[in-house]
């Protein structure tokens, strides 16, 4: 497609473990700048491995990955921010210190750090909770801190590895909605991994469905629901049909 700027381009990506186990097979997709893409698939389909490769944290056996038009041979936090599952905050740092962590690694002066971390806390709706330690925060609040930490360096691309998997269903829906609100104010390109079908349809511009090992992309589904999304859209026919289509695809794979 001429004229579309791709934030992420993956071409012919394959990965083999220990020379024998094929984890990912011939994966190709691209994500236009500013779009929200969700990758959904059964556990063990290699979706987390794929995300690690997009983040430059793991090398692929074959194929190319371009991020903002350039390969990503190693972690590059200015280009790609990663948001992990719940337990990844440092328990010995306060919320605001956790958010500052990426900046402090680069030697950003303390004043600047505090200012930017404070702005992030506000963005994720946690103003006033900066001095709390992770064990003093609820699961949803911890994940807000984690999102703030991923956003603090203002990378154009955000990768999220099942960030809400450990949360209860209600908190999970609220956090998804919150994420869309934050995303709409920041215009990031997001790749979001989940195994929840509802979450996938609710969040995505496009859903990529992966098969069980070896992981392949077996379906691409554009989600035509308007933005901003609202909870009552889940009751619509369109929503139900899309979720059902993903389920049928996943169910087919052994």
């Amino acid at each position: 497609m001429a004229g579309v700027i791709h934030a992420i381009e993956v071409e012919g990506l394959s990965h083999v473990y220990g020379g024998a186990v094929s984890a990912l097979e011939n994966i190709s997709f691209s994500v236009a700048a500013g779009r929200f893409t969700v990758i959904v698939g059964p556990s063990g389909c290699g979706k987390t491995s794929l995300l690690m490769m997009l983040a430059g944290l793991r090398a692929q056996s074959q194929g190319t990955i371009l991020c903002q038009g350039r390969p990503i041979p190693g972690p590059d936090p200015q280009r790609v921010g990663v948001i992990f599952q719940e337990a990844s905050l440092y328990p010995w740092l306060t919320a605001v210190e956790n958010i500052e962590f990426p900046l402090s690694l680069r030697g950003t002066p303390k004043n600047e750090r505090r200012k930017r971390a404070g702005a992030m806390l506000e963005l994720v709706g946690l103003a006033g909770f900066g001095e709390r330690y992770p064990h003093e925060l609820s699961g949803g609040m911890k994940q807000r801190v984690s999102i703030a930490r991923g956003l603090v360096q203002d990378p154009p691309v955000l990768l999220m590895d099942e960030p809400f998997a450990a949360l209860d269903e209600q908190t999970r829906m609220t956090m998804g909605h919150e994420l869309l609100r934050i995303w709409s104010t920041t215009s990031k390109t997001v790749v979001f991994i989940t195994h929840s079908l509802t979450e996938a349809v609710y969040l995505a511009d496009e859903v990529l469905v992966m098969s069980a090992r070896p992981g392949r992309i077996i379906d691409r589904i554009a989600v035509p629901l308007p933005r901003p999304r609202s909870y009552d859209m889940m009751a619509t026919d369109v929503f139900g049909r899309l979720r059902d289509r993903i389920w049928q695809q996943i169910r087919k794979t052994p």
């Binding site: 944290l57 972690p75 936090p77 992990f84 990844s88 440092y90 402090s104 690694l105 680069r106």
Partner: protein
């Protein structure tokens, strides 16, 4: 508050029993001299130059052995926890050796070093190194992979990963290890001194025991107990300060 009151009452009860039971002949005062006699003996002993020298020697042995064993054990522990190869080779072997009572090696230390200051230090650091090594390896393994992945994804260098993730994450376990290894270290020095020695608190205590000087013996026990508890509590205090986030 109530708990503290009960503890103090219990302590008072024990001390009172220590004083009164031998005083009234309910317990043989030759085996357990009354507390006041022991405290008087303690006061007398603390004035003797021979005791001063013994305390100085023991303290030097304990501190030197500790100063050798802690960095040595920590370095070896980190090494076998970090290197998969070294871990696979040495961990089972170390577990075997760790399970052997170390005191059976004491005669060998005497043969090599003679009955000397060096022998006490060598034996105590030998026993302590194992404890530190095991604890350090456990502490390294306690650091969650997620923590390392986060740091790497934000572009942390190796040094930053070490100082900003490993050290704070391991600190509570390391302090606990320090405390426990000091117990082993102190025990090592005492055993070495009581087994064969010319000076040191352990030597004095062993001598008092052999000569049936029970008041002196108990006075020595009080001194040792006080020093050991003091060190233990100091490290424990640091532990609670460093691990507030663990609540």
């Amino acid at each position: 508050m109530k708990i503290v009151a009960v503890r103090l009452a219990l302590l008072a009860l024990v001390l009172a029993a220590w004083e009164l039971l031998p005083r009234h002949g309910i317990v043989n005062p030759l085996l357990l001299p009354p507390l006041s006699d022991v405290l008087r003996a303690l006061g007398d002993q603390l004035l003797r130059p021979q005791v001063h020298e013994a305390i100085a020697v023991t303290a030097a042995e304990v501190m030197l052995a500790f100063a050798i064993a802690v960095p040595l054990g920590a370095a070896l522990g980190v090494l076998i926890a970090e290197s998969e190869y070294l871990g696979q080779v040495f961990k089972p072997l170390l577990f075997y050796v760790f399970s052997i009572p170390k005191s059976i090696f004491l005669p060998m230390f005497i043969l090599v070093f003679g009955i000397s200051f060096a022998q006490k230090v060598a034996y105590a650091s030998f026993t302590t190194t194992f404890v530190v090594l095991m604890s350090a390896a456990t502490a390294v393994e306690s650091v969650k992979q997620d923590y390392l992945l986060v740091a790497r994804s934000y572009g942390a260098t190796r040094t930053q990963v070490l100082l900003r993730v490993y050290v704070p994450s391991m600190m509570p376990l390391l302090l606990e290890a320090l405390r426990i290894s000091m117990i082993f270290n102190f025990t090592g020095v005492m055993i070495a001194e009581m087994y064969a020695s010319r000076t040191g608190i352990g030597h004095l205590i062993a001598g008092w025991g052999e000569n049936f000087q029970m008041t002196q013996l108990f006075a020595g026990v009080i001194v040792l107990a006080a020093v050991a508890i003091l060190f233990n509590e100091a490290v424990r205090w640091m532990e609670t300060r460093v691990s507030a986030w663990r609540a």
